[in-house]
C-alpha cells in the first residue's frame, strides 16, 4: 500500500507542515521511593519530525524508558510539556503506541484476534476490521498464521504480531522499548531488516529505546545519547550519510558506532560504579 492511500485512511489529523510530530519541552521527572529521590530525567528537549526514526541510547537507569512512558501518557512529567502535532499529551491514547520487550499478546485470542483487538479498541468494526488485520499480518509475513494460538509462535513471530497490531491502528508515533532484546541474534537481524522495510513502507515516526549502539546506528536516522542519572541529552548523532537498508554488522556503520561507544563509555562507567558501589570496577565497551 502506498503512503497516500495510508493517509486517506488515517482518521487522525494529518501532520501540519513545520510542526514537529513529537516535541518534548523541558521534561523533568523525579521518582520517590521512601526517603530517596531519584531524578530520572532532567530538562529534556527533543523534537522529532514526521516519519523520523529516532533511537535513544544510554546506560541502564538513564530514564530512556521513562521518556517512552511519558510520551505514551502512562506517566506524567513533573515539569515540561509533551506535544503531538502541537497538541499536548493528556493520557494514554492509541495515537501513541508502545511496544515492549515482551510482545504482550493476549493468550486467549488467536493471532488475527490479537490484531483485531487493537482495531476494535479504536472503533474499527465489521469487515474492515478483519481486512485491515489481515493486511497488516501480511506486512509482517505472518498471514499463514492468522488462526494460530499465540503460544504456538516463536518469540520473533510473536514480536512481529505485536508490531502488526500496533501498525494496524496507524499511530502517529510508534514507541519501541527494547523490542528485540529478548530475541536471539539471528531473529533480531531479520527483524532489523523487516522493521526498516515496514518503516519505509508506512512512513511511521518511531522512537526506539535500546542499549545496543549497533542496533541504534542500524535503525535510526538520529541517535540521541543520554547521560547516567540524572538523564540528560549528552549528544546527538545523525546517520544520514549511511545508506539503507543497514545490517547490524555493516562495515559502513563501524566508525559511527565507535564514536558513540566512546561517548557512552564514561556514562556506563558511572552506572556500574553506582550500581556496584565500586569505582574501580572497569567496563570496556
Amino acid at each position: 500500500m502506498s503512503t497516500t492511500e495510508l493517509q486517506v485512511r488515517t482518521s487522525q489529523p494529518a501532520a501540519t507542515p513545520g510542526i514537529p510530530r513529537l516535541s518534548l519541552e523541558g521534561i523533568s521527572k523525579t521518582f520517590r521511593s521512601g526517603n530517596t529521590r531519584m531524578t530520572a530525567l532532567d530538562n529534556i528537549n527533543l523534537e522529532v519530525t514526521p516519519g523520523e526514526f529516532v533511537c535513544l541510547v544510554g546506560p541502564s537507569g538513564c530514564g530512556k524508558s521513562t521518556i517512552l512512558n511519558l510520551v505514551a501518557g502512562l506517566e506524567e512529567p513533573d515539569s515540561g510539556k509533551i506535544l503531538i502535532n502541537g497538541q499536548p499529551v493528556t493520557g494514554p491514547h492509541p495515537d501513541r503506541l508502545l511496544l515492549f520487550q515482551e510482545p504482550a499478546l493476549f493468550p486467549w485470542l488467536d493471532v488475527i484476534g490479537n490484531i483485531e483487538f487493537g482495531l476494535k479498541s479504536v472503533g474499527i468494526n465489521g469487515k474492515e476490521r478483519r481486512e485491515r488485520a489481515l493486511e497488516y499480518l501480511a506486512k509482517v509475513h505472518l498471514h499463514k498464521f492468522a488462526k494460530f494460538r499465540v503460544h504456538q509462535l516463536s518469540g520473533g513471530m510473536r514480536q512481529r504480531v505485536a508490531i502488526a497490531r500496533a501498525l494496524a491502528i496507524n499511530p502517529q508515533v510508534l514507541l519501541m522499548d527494547e523490542p528485540f532484546s529478548a530475541l536471539d541474534a539471528q531473529t533480531r537481524d531479520i527483524l532489523h531488516t523487516e522493521l526498516q522495510q515496514l518503516w519505509t513502507e508506512t512512513g511511521k515516526t518511531i522512537l526506539f529505546v535500546t542499549h545496543n549502539v549497533r542496533e541504534a546506528v542500524t535503525l535510526g536516522d538520529r541517535i540521541v545519547l543520554f547521560t547516567y542519572r540524572p538523564g540528560r541529552i549528552k549528544a546527538e548523532f545523525s546517520t544520514a550519510h549511511l545508506p539503507r537498508p543497514r545490517h547490524l554488522e555493516g562495515q559502513a556503520q563501524t566508525k559511527l558506532v565507535r564514536e558513540i561507544m566512546g561517548e557512552l563509555q564514561g556514562e556506563v562507567q558511572l552506572a556500574v560504579a553506582s550500581e556496584y558501589g565500586d569505582a574501580r570496577l572497569r567496563v570496556d565497551l
Binding site: 502512562l74 503506541l97 486467549w108
Partner: protein, 287 residues
C-alpha cells in the same frame, strides 16, 4: 524478505492433529482398564473385610455392614422401581439451579472486588466471613425465610458455593500480567471494557479452578440441605435408609452421590479446564 519457518509450521501442526485420535483412543482404553482394576481392588478389600468381620468372627452384623453384593442389589432395586432416578434427578435439578446462580454471581462479585477499592472494603469482609460459615448453618435461616421447600435448599446451595467462586475469581485477577493491562490501556481500552475484554478472559483458567471448588461446595451444601429438610432427593433417600435400618440402601445412595460428583467434575469441569489451558498455552505439550 520471507520468514524462515512459515512453511514448516502449518505442516507440523497438521501432522500433530492427525496423530491425535489414535493416541487418544489407546489412552482412553488404558484409563478405563486402570479405573476398573482400581474399583475392583476396592470392592475386593471391602468383601474381604465383610467376610472376616461378619461371617468368620461375627463381630459385626450384616444389617450394619452389608456385603458389596447386597449394596449392588439395593442399587439395582431402587433403580428399577424408579425411586433412585427420581431422587437423583430432583437433587441434580436443585444443584444445577443453585450452582447456575452461584457461578455467574460469584464471578461478578469477584470482578467487583477487583474493580474498586471501596467495593472491596465494603464487600470483601462479608465474603470472607460468609466463606468461613459452613453452609449447613444457613439451613435454619433458609427454612424460616422460605419454608420447607425447594427454594430453601437452593438458597443453601447458592450460599454454600458462591463465596468460594468469588474468592477464586478475585484471586485470579491479581495474577494477570500487568503488561497485558498496560498494553490494553495503551490501545485505549478503559472502564468496563478492561474487564470484559482483558480481566475476565485473562483470569478464565483460574476461574474454572474456582468453579470446580464451588461445584464441590454446592454438592455438599445440597446434601446437607436435603438431609435436614424433606422432599424427594438423594438426601431424603439416605434418611429413608436410616429410618428403615437399610444400610445397603444408605451405602448405595452414598455410592451414587460419589459417582455423580466425580462424573461432573471429571467429564465437564476437568475437560473444559484442559481445553482452556491448552488454548491459552498453559500446558507444555510434548511433541
Amino acid at each position: 524478505m520471507s520468514s524462515i519457518t512459515s512453511e514448516a509450521i502449518p505442516q507440523l501442526q497438521q501432522r500433530l492433529n492427525t496423530a491425535q485420535p489414535l493416541k487418544l483412543a489407546r489412552k482412553t482404553g488404558l484409563t478405563l482398564l486402570k479405573v476398573g482394576l482400581y474399583a475392583g481392588g476396592l470392592f475386593a478389600i471391602w468383601y474381604l473385610v465383610y467376610l472376616l468381620m461378619v461371617e468368620v468372627f461375627q463381630v459385626w452384623i450384616s444389617a450394619l455392614f452389608p456385603a458389596p453384593v447386597d449394596v449392588l442389589v439395593s442399587l439395582v432395586d431402587h433403580a428399577a422401581d424408579g425411586s433412585l432416578w427420581r431422587a437423583a434427578s430432583a437433587s441434580l435439578a436443585r444443584l444445577f439451579i443453585g450452582f447456575g446462580i452461584a457461578l455467574p454471581a460469584g464471578i461478578l462479585i469477584g470482578m467487583g472486588l477487583a474493580w474498586g477499592r471501596w467495593f472491596r472494603s465494603l464487600v470483601g469482609p462479608i465474603v470472607l466471613g460468609f466463606q468461613a460459615l459452613p453452609s449447613v448453618c444457613w439451613i435454619p435461616l433458609a427454612i424460616l425465610w422460605f419454608g420447607l421447600n425447594e427454594r430453601a435448599i437452593i438458597f443453601v446451595v447458592v450460599m454454600g458455593s458462591i463465596f468460594s467462586v468469588t474468592i477464586a475469581t478475585y484471586d485470579s485477577t491479581k495474577l494477570i500480567p500487568p503488561l497485558l493491562l498496560k498494553a490494553a490501556s495503551n490501545m485505549g481500552v478503559k472502564g468496563l471494557a478492561v474487564f470484559s475484554r482483558v480481566v475476565l478472559p485473562a483470569s478464565l483458567p483460574a476461574i474454572i479452578s474456582g468453579a470446580r471448588q464451588g461445584w464441590s461446595f454446592a454438592w455438599r451444601s445440597l446434601l446437607g440441605g436435603e438431609l435436614l429438610t424433606a422432599g424427594i432427593g438423594l438426601g431424603n433417600l439416605l434418611n429413608q435408609g436410616r429410618d428403615l435400618t437399610d444400610m445397603a440402601l444408605v451405602m448405595a445412595v452414598m455410592l451414587v452421590i460419589i459417582a455423580l460428583g466425580l462424573l461432573f467434575d471429571q467429564l465437564v469441569i476437568t475437560r473444559f479446564e484442559a481445553y482452556i489451558r491448552q488454548r491459552y498455552g498453559l500446558v507444555s505439550r510434548s511433541l
